[in-house]
Structure formats: structure tokens, C-alpha cells
């Protein structure tokens, strides 16, 4: 029992050590997400990160998100996230806000 317990704790510690690396930066996070959930679009909603990588794709995604954003409570969290990111982009004078597709929302 002692050996099993200690063994489990050590295995958890090792896996935690690996998992912690995932959260080091947006780059490691998105890389991890793209590897583990390639079909999903959630990484794209981080505009601050995605604009640095591909401004055109990020602007297109934002346009789709804003124009099709439902008002149901289920979408509320996403709406808050997008609004928060737009404020951040505006507050820091991000070049993203100069993009013609994004400017109307900034």
C-alpha cells in the first residue's frame, strides 16, 4: 500500500511537471491545444495571440464571431471573452484595430 501510494504520487508529480510546461505561454498553450484538439476553434478566440501569428485569419474569425454571436445565455461567456479582448486590443493600441475588418468593433 505504501509503495502504491508513493508510486502514484511520484507519477502524478511527473505528469504535473510535464503539464505545467503547457501553461508557460500562449505559444505552448496553443500548440498543446492544436495537438490535442485540432478540430476545435477555441484557440482562435485569443485574438491577442492569434493576431501576432496570422492577422488575416484572426480578423476573419472575429468577423464571423461578432456577426453570428447568439444572445442566448449559453453564449454569454464567449461574448464577454470577445468584448474583453477587444478592449484589451484597443487599450494597448494593437495594430489589430487598424485592420479594416476589425476596426468597426474596436
Amino acid at each position: 500500500m505504501k509503495v502504491l501510494g508513493l508510486g502514484l504520487v511520484l507519477v502524478w508529480a511527473l505528469l504535473t511537471s510535464i503539464q505545467i510546461e503547457t501553461w508557460a505561454s500562449n505559444r505552448t498553450l496553443w500548440t498543446h491545444a492544436a495537438r490535442t484538439s485540432p478540430r476545435l476553434a477555441r484557440p482562435a478566440i485569443n485574438l491577442a495571440a492569434s493576431f501576432a501569428e496570422d492577422p488575416q485569419a484572426a480578423a476573419l474569425w472575429l468577423h464571423i464571431a461578432i456577426t453570428r454571436l447568439p444572445t442566448s445565455p449559453r453564449q454569454a461567456e464567449s461574448a464577454v471573452a470577445i468584448r474583453g479582448q477587444l478592449r484589451l486590443l484597443t487599450a494597448f493600441g494593437s495594430p489589430a484595430c487598424l485592420h479594416p475588418d476589425v476596426r468597426p468593433y474596436c
Binding site: 502524478w12 504535473t16 453564449q75 461567456e77
Partner: protein, 307 residues
């Protein structure tokens, strides 16, 4: 504890990620209309503390998160007994990879603080300090809206540990019932009992719960496309079996963990949100599991003996 501190010390050099940058008000002191105000007063205070420590440099924000996790570990240690059971329970709570999202991700701070308040409440129950319990339960709601579960969880703990008589439990229901109801009604605009949503979330919860045993596939963006009606039915069956066993062995550790997880996850199941369950939502359920593993032995009685 030392190993946990050592492992998470690396996060002090990490950047803000993802939703950490969503809320300029909390990070940089700029006013926005979505600022939660007194809803998360305790969380706001802790974010202010982080800002006082390192301003907009992430290390101070990570430092507070890691410290909160370690404090929670210390509080948990006060509640459990037995040398090896304590090692296993603390290892599960502090070092399990499911907890990484809660600790390494600054935006999960409310879950850490909810854990702190809840543990304080449990310690208050242990020592019969009912005033302190009310204070801790109130603080839990100010850490996160779902902190409303602190009251029923503390009552559950008090009952499981034989810390209260039936009469006192009834009084607790009379006093705290209306409080819980009033707080719950504040969320009435987002409460929506959607059976399909709840069914999916229960399936996700079982799936994430399975990762406690096999911690693989942890990600910020779960692909739940594999949830078919058949899979959901199987997960419900598992929950039903566990629930029935909990009813039969009412005072067992299995029953404690089942009831704990059901109460802790209830707000997520009735509040339809786009993103559903994630690892950081398991912080409080994992605390219950750790308590189930490491809590001092309580004489086990069946439902029939209790009746």
C-alpha cells in the same frame, strides 16, 4: 508540500495566457462594464494583492496562485489523518495533473480561493465554530458565484463526521436554506434547466473524473465530439450505480465523495455556459476525493442502520 512548491515555482516565470488577458480591469486597473464588482470581492482583493506585488509582471500573480494552493494543502492536512493516507490524499490534491489548470492559470484564481474558504469552513465544523463557518461560507460566495456550494458541502461534512445532531442539521436547513435560495435566485437569469445540456455535462464530468485515474488528454480545449447518446447513457448508468451504492453504504467514503461531487458540480450542471466543464472546475470535487481518501476513519453504517 515542498515538492508542490518546487514544481509550481517554475510558473513564476510564465506569462499571462489566454483569458488572463481578457479582463483589463482586473489586470491593469482599467474600468470596464463587465467588471464583476462585489460578486467576486475576495477574488478582486486577491488580484489587487497580486498587482501590488508585481504590478503587471506575471510573477506576482502566479506567486499568489501557488501560495493559495499550498495554503489549501496545509488546511487539508489539518483535516486528514493517518500517515500514508495523508500522503496519498495530499498527493492527490496537490500534485495531480488535473490541478495544473487551477494553479498555473491566473484566471482560475476564484477556484483556489473557493477551496480556501471551503477548507476553512470544514475546519470550523471540526471545531464546532459555527460563526466561523458562516463567515467562511459567505467568503466562498465572494470568491466565486458557485461558492454557494460551500454551505451544503460543510453540512455534508458535518453529517458525515458526526459533528452535528439531527436537530442541529434541521436548524442548519432552516437558517441556511433561505440564504442559499436567495443567492441562487441571483443567478436566475442564467439558470436554465436544459436536460440535454445537463446530460452532456454529466458525461463530461464522468470523462474528466476518469482522468483522475488515468490523467491523460488534459487540454484547454476538449473535443467532446465523441459524446453520443450511447456514451451518455453509459455514463449515466455509472453514475446511477455509484449513487445506488452510496445510498446503501450511506456513511462510506464512496458515498461522501459521490455526494460531494454532485453538490460541487451542481451549479455547472444548471448554468448553461458555452465552454462547459474544464479541469479547473474539478478543484473542489478533487478536494472531496482527497478528503474521502484521507479523512480520519468514521464508523461506517449502512442506510438501514442509519434509519
Amino acid at each position: 508540500m515542498a515538492l508542490t512548491g518546487l514544481l509550481y515555482a517554475r510558473t513564476l516565470g510564465y506569462a499571462f495566457v489566454y483569458e488572463d488577458l481578457n479582463d483589463p480591469a482586473s489586470m491593469f486597473g482599467r474600468p470596464i462594464d463587465t467588471w464583476p464588482g462585489w460578486n467576486r470581492l475576495l477574488t478582486s482583493a486577491s488580484l489587487t494583492l497580486s498587482r501590488l506585488i508585481s504590478d503587471v509582471q506575471p510573477w506576482g500573480w502566479h506567486l499568489v496562485s501557488v501560495a493559495a494552493h499550498l495554503v489549501n494543502g496545509a488546511l487539508l492536512w489539518c483535516l486528514i489523518g493517518g500517515r500514508w493516507a495523508a500522503v496519498l490524499a495530499l498527493g492527490l490534491f496537490l500534485l495531480h495533473p488535473l490541478q495544473v489548470e487551477s494553479v498555473a492559470y491566473v484566471s482560475s484564481r476564484p477556484d483556489l480561493l473557493l477551496g480556501t474558504c471551503l477548507l476553512c469552513g470544514l475546519l470550523a465544523v471540526e471545531r464546532g465554530r459555527w460563526g466561523l463557518l458562516a463567515l467562511a461560507a459567505g467568503a466562498a460566495v465572494l470568491a466565486k458565484e458557485s461558492g454557494i456550494v460551500a454551505i451544503p458541502l460543510c453540512v455534508l461534512w458535518a453529517w458525515w463526521r458526526d459533528r452535528v445532531t439531527t436537530v442541529r442539521l434541521a436548524w442548519a436547513g432552516v437558517i441556511f436554506g433561505p440564504i442559499v435560495t436567495v443567492i441562487a435566485l441571483r443567478f436566475v437569469d442564467v439558470l436554465a434547466l436544459d436536460p440535454a445540456y445537463t446530460s452532456t455535462e454529466v458525461t463530461k464530468a464522468v470523462s474528466l473524473g476518469a482522468r483522475v485515474l488515468v490523467p491523460v488528454g488534459l487540454t484547454i480545449d476538449h473535443d467532446w465530439g465523441w459524446i453520443t447518446p450511447a456514451v451518455a447513457a453509459f455514463c449515466w448508468l455509472m453514475v446511477a450505480v455509484w449513487g445506488c451504492y452510496a445510498l446503501i453504504e450511506l456513511r462510506s467514503r464512496f458515498a461522501l465523495v459521490f455526494a460531494w461531487c454532485a453538490i460541487a458540480l451542481a451549479p455547472r450542471l444548471v448554468t448553461p455556459l458555452l465552454e462547459g466543464l474544464h479541469e479547473h472546475h474539478l478543484y473542489v470535487p478533487l478536494l472531496g476525493l482527497a478528503l474521502g481518501v484521507g479523512a480520519s476513519h468514521t464508523p461506517e453504517r449502512t442506510l438501514w442502520e442509519s434509519v
